[in-house]
């Protein structure tokens, strides 16, 4: 039993670290570090650099640009991306639809979609959630009606993250209304330029535009865009959702953020000294660091166990990583806001009105509260923490 990396693993990590720090533009990494919204071009620039180096899709089959890495290497890769504030390759592309197409898609679909999905020449959105179906995903109502060589889609998706940038969307649609809930659902790929699709922004409480509603009104989709078998979409969705346990807790990101909180606390005046001199603040920060350390080891245990267990077997660790990971991420944004103190309050219209005015308080401070607000989402999306507790109770405790 050994927590420390081997010499080979350290060399692997250092090489990645060096690459990330020198090849990804500093300005993009600064935005990630401060928790500011990225522009479309930032994602694309970053992913293309990774892709050129063969680092965009390490979890894919080797023939489609993947790497034959060990679980530990994959883990190191994700942690280093996060710890160095590199935008992760777009999840909808590389951890969601890519693996689904590579595993269940036709050869034609693979050839047509995988290269652009890896390089981000195709930007994918996820069309799962619906207004009436939040935690209860399987109650979705969007329908796909077969008409000759097409499916005709009607309905509404919501919480479509970065849907405003999307070229394509992969959707769960109901293809058999008479079947039981989880049955009768299919997985289909839809070109966002198809007539009948409307995207409406949802502005969130942090003032950002990250998510959208997507409306489908008699949208005609070629039948060849169906992935796998008709009415088997729920299986593919489960595959997709269970696909990526590593990185779910975003430990690397939180580490980087806590280090930044520490640095800023040491720079921010308070009383005779700085915020860092306040034992209460340091106590709370220390708890976050300690809980994060425990979670990091929990995650390492999961990674190590992947060598020996079947990848598709359910595992309480995903739920644990989700629950604790989101809690600690939220603590970190809270600490950052606390450092900002009174200067967490200003919300100057610096970017929207193009005035390019200076900050009101410290340069970083006006991003603190929006980040804190925005990060309430991490305990809600992707299966809320309540759903995770249900899963633990039922599947692992037998309650």
């Amino acid at each position: 039993m050994e927590l420390r990396y081997t010499a080979e693993e350290i060399a692997f990590r250092d090489e990645l670290r060096q690459f990330f720090r020198t090849q990804i533009p500093a300005e993009i990494r600064r935005k990630v570090s401060e928790g500011r919204a990225l522009a479309r071009i930032d994602y694309v620039t970053s992913q293309k650099i990774l892709h050129a180096a063969g680092l965009a899709t390490p979890n894919w089959p080797v023939e489609w640009g993947g790497k034959d890495w060990s679980p530990v290497q994959r883990y190191i890769f994700v942690e280093e991306l996060q710890a160095n504030a590199v935008p992760q390759p777009l999840g909808f592309n590389v951890t969601m639809v890519g693996p689904v197409i590579a595993t269940f898609g036709s050869e034609d679909q693979k050839r047509r979609f995988l290269p652009g999905t890896a390089s981000l020449d195709i930007w994918w959105a996820q069309g799962f959630s619906e207004p009436g179906a939040g935690s209860d995903l399987a109650s979705l109502k969007t329908t796909a009606r077969r008409e000759g060589e097409h499916f005709v889609i009607n309905g509404q998706k919501t919480w479509t993250t970065l849907g405003q940038y999307a070229d394509w969307i992969f959707c769960l649609v109901r293809t058999d209304a008479s079947a039981k809930k989880q049955q009768g659902i299919s997985f289909i790929l839809i070109d966002m330029k198809t007539p009948g699709i409307t995207v409406r922004p949802i502005v969130t409480i942090d003032g950002g535009h990250e998510v959208n509603e997507v409306f489908f009104d008699e949208v005609k989709v070629p039948a060849e865009n169906l992935v796998g078998e008709l009415n088997k979409g729920w299986d593919y969705a489960k595959f997709l959702l269970s696909n990526e346990r590593i990185g779910i807790a975003r430990i690397g990101m939180t580490k980087e953020r806590l280090a930044r909180v520490k640095r800023l606390a040491q720079e921010t005046p308070s009383g005779e000294g700085t915020v860092w001199d306040d034992p209460d603040f340091r106590r709370r920060l220390a708890w976050s660091e300690i809980e994060l350390k425990a979670l990091e080891i929990t995650q390492m245990r999961v990674v190590a166990a992947q060598r020996t267990r079947a990848a598709d077997k359910p595992d309480p660790s995903s739920s644990i990583l989700k629950i604790k990971g989101s809690e600690i991420q939220q603590q970190a944004t809270q600490l950052l806001m606390d450092v900002a103190g009174p200067y967490a309050a200003p919300r100057p219209d610096r970017e929207e009105d193009g005035l390019n005015l200076p900050s009101v308080g410290p340069e970083w401070a006006d991003a603190a509260a929006p980040l804190f607000f925005n990060f309430r989402k991490v305990s809600i999306y992707g299966g809320s923490n309540e759903i995770q507790r249900n899963i633990i109770a039922k599947a692992f405790l037998g309650l």
Binding site: S129, G132, G134, S135, D136, S139, T158, W159, I202, V203, T204, I205, G207, T268, P269, S270, G271, E272, V275, D278, D280, F281, R284, M337, D338, A340, G341, P342, Y343, A344, A345, P346, R347, P348, D349, L357, V360, G361, A369, P370, F372, F373, R376, K377, S379, I380, Y381, S384, N385, E386, R389
Partner: protein, 374 residues
């Protein structure tokens, strides 16, 4: 021991609650108010003047209400319920509070009471964080008046206030508790530069740079007054928090009753019921503490008063934070949207915490005092 309101207080509460539900019952209106030139509704402000709310602390002889902390609590609670954007805290609680405490010009007080002038209190400085006595802004004598130099930040409604009350140093070092004066400044005076901006909770504030700005002296050795009025503001903020917490709790409970998942209202799930029950417990505890704040703000012993108000701000801040986060979590995604009310209550509750000292700050003061006064 008595928790009943007087008839006058009951009437005041009814009228201010009616005002808030008329003007803020439709949440869309709030957006329109914020879009007005001053960041709030001129018509609302006039209406508040007509109702006598702006004259609350004035004596009846002065045409006021003779109101004290309990009256302020009733008004602020209603303000919290509606997320009212008009500058009541800045103008009446802080501004009039300081003016009256310093024996400032009666004509100006009358103007404020009539809704003809608004006030702001510029105390915050970049290095000061939550310490009211940490001041680098200086005042030097120039004939009858004083010239102020320095930079003040996050001045609530400082972007549109007609007069600004400024704390500045007449003598001593940056963190001395003596040598602090209070000054009255016309916002249009030369040497005053204001940069207004929205705050995270949809209100307004300003950064104010003073470069030889001419002002009149309101009070010398003013720290005790500033600390007292800051405690009054803390009591007011506690009441506002209670109003916002109760509204947010009710909103959440209503949502639990209507939102369907897995074929039933999510309010039928016991885990969520228990968390909603804890929200009720939290609001009741916060309400009790806001009452404590309102009563202790009149405590003559300044040290006891200050410790009690710190205790109130700490507990209400903690409960508001917990309740706000729970409200978002129990709602789920909908509460993350700008369109829906809940997030705005959450944001206001979060920002109340960084006004006049956060939870850590105030708890530290209670600890330093060795605990609560008897």
């Amino acid at each position: 021991m008595d928790f009943d309101l007087t008839d006058e207080q009951r009437l005041l509460a009814e009228s201010v609650n009616r005002f808030v539900s008329d003007r803020y019952g439709d949440f869309e209106k709030r957006k329109a108010y914020r879009a007005e030139a001053k960041g709030y509704a001129a018509a609302n402000w006039s209406a508040m003047a007509e109702m006598g709310l702006l004259a609350l602390p004035l004596t009846e002889e002065e045409g006021g209400f003779g109101g004290g902390p309990v009256e302020t609590m009733l008004v602020m609670e209603a303000i919290g319920r509606g997320l009212v954007v008009e500058p009541y805290l800045a103008t009446v609680v802080l501004g009039l509070g300081l003016l009256r405490g310093a024996g400032g010009p009666p004509e100006l007080q009358a103007q404020v009471a009539a809704g003809e002038a608004t006030l702001a209190f510029a105390h915050q400085e970049r290095q000061a964080r939550y310490d009211l006595h940490d001041l680098a802004t200086t005042a030097r004598r120039d004939g009858d008046a004083y010239l102020l130099d320095g930079a003040k930040g996050v001045v609530l409604n400082g972007d549109t206030a007609d007069r600004i009350i400024v704390s500045a140093r007449l003598s001593g070092g940056r963190r001395d508790r003596t040598g602090i004066g209070l000054f009255l400044l016309d916002a249009a005076t030369q040497g005053v530069t204001r940069r207004g901006y929205a705050t995270q909770d949809g209100l307004r504030a300003a950064e104010i740079v003073l470069e030889g700005a001419r002002a009149t002296l309101l009070a010398e050795d003013a720290l005790p007054l500033v600390e007292r009025v800051a405690d009054e503001a803390i009591a007011a903020l506690c009441a506002e928090a209670v109003g916002a917490m109760e509204t947010l709790r009710d909103l959440t409970v209503d949502y639990l009753k209507t939102r369907q998942q897995f074929g039933r209202a999510i309010g039928e799930f016991q885990a969520l019921q228990h968390r909603a029950a804890d929200m009720l417990v939290a609001t009741e505890q916060a309400r009790s503490m806001a009452m404590y704040a309102a009563m202790m703000v009149q405590e003559p012993d300044a040290a006891a008063r200050s410790t009690a108000l710190s205790a109130a701000k700490a507990l209400v801040g903690k409960l508001a934070d917990q309740l706000g986060k729970e409200a978002i979590q129990l709602h789920g995604g909908i509460a993350m949207t700008e369109e829906y009310k809940a997030g705005h209550y959450f944001k206001r509750l979060s920002m109340l915490n960084v006004l006049f000292g956060d939870v850590d700050h105030h708890l530290r003061r209670v600890v330093a005092a060795g605990g609560l006064p008897d």
